[in-house]
Amino acid sequence: MSDKDAVMHNIAQGMSQGSPYAREMGFELVSMEGGAALMRAPYKEIMVGDPDTGVIAGGVVTGLLDHCCGSAVHLSMTEFKIIATLDLRIDYMRAAKPRMPIFARAECYKVTRSVAFVRAVAYDETPDDPVASAAAAFMLDSSKGRPFMANMKAGQ
């Protein structure tokens, strides 16, 4: 891992640890290579969407894919910028197997000055048998000119 890779890896990891939602869900950056991020979510009771089968909610997969895509964007940039999801499209191929961790692998395949494009897949056992796939676009420097705690102010 080059110095730059190590820095961006720390940033991507910091994003997971710094995001209260990702922390609650236990999203964890497992590895990175180039612009791709591999993320893992443990099976947790709070994730269940179907109490009869124990299958996790589609929304959890949405959250994991969104978060993993964001991490891939951080990994592929040369400097840290605040990013925001602009668009996220997900196909759900099948239910995730209950009581198993779920993985997401996201690849940022193009970064322009303002926008990054990402594709991702979520799976439980093997990427060849995906649970869901995603395509996302992110705005870079989305907080430009907006101060710390900007969202605490009234109006926008």
């Binding site: 710094g18 995001s19 909610a57 949405t62 978060h67 999801t85 499209r89 997900i90 705690m149 969202n151």
Partner: protein, 143 residues
């Protein structure tokens, strides 16, 4: 509130209460006739970006997906067990530390597929913070 209305509201609240992820998000549904509004109070556990702070994009996606499912239950009943096929989410504004609302519009219910649009907003209904379009696969109806 009429008897049928109270019953529908109770069925909806019971469904959400049974789903651990819905409890985690803290969502509830408010029914006015056949029009449903989903409500998600703000909490630390739904923050994505702590520096603004802003609600996690995945949470907004989940919330709107749940709104679509709940609206389908209101219209079609629980028997058709909708399963999500795909969603397309548009993020319009950052989710501020405020209560978020969402309403779903069922565009079409066919024999197998339902098309649903959802919009989420905070202070102003006319300034949505996110929108979702989804397709659901339905179990075959009685008819």
């Amino acid at each position: 509130m009429s008897g049928a209305q109270t019953e529908a509201q109770a069925a909806l609240s019971a469904m959400l209460e049974r789903i651990p992820y819905a409890r985690f998000l803290g969502v509830r549904a408010e029914l006015a006739g056949d029009e449903m509004t989903m409500v998600m109070p703000f909490g630390q556990h739904i923050i994505g970006n702590p520096t603004l702070p802003a609600i996690h994009g995945g949470v907004l996606g989940s919330f709107m997906e749940m709104t679509a499912l709940a609206q389908l239950q209101v219209k079609e009943g629980a028997a058709r067990q909708p399963r999500v096929i795909d969603v397309s989410i548009e993020y319009l504004r950052s989710g501020r530390p405020l209560t978020t609302y969402a309403r779903a519009e069922i565009k079409k219910v066919g024999r197998r597929i339902a098309n649903v649009h959802v919009e989420a907003w905070q202070e102003q209904r006319a300034s949505p913070i996110a929108a979702l379009r989804a397709h659901f696969l339905l179990a075959q109806g009685e008819s």
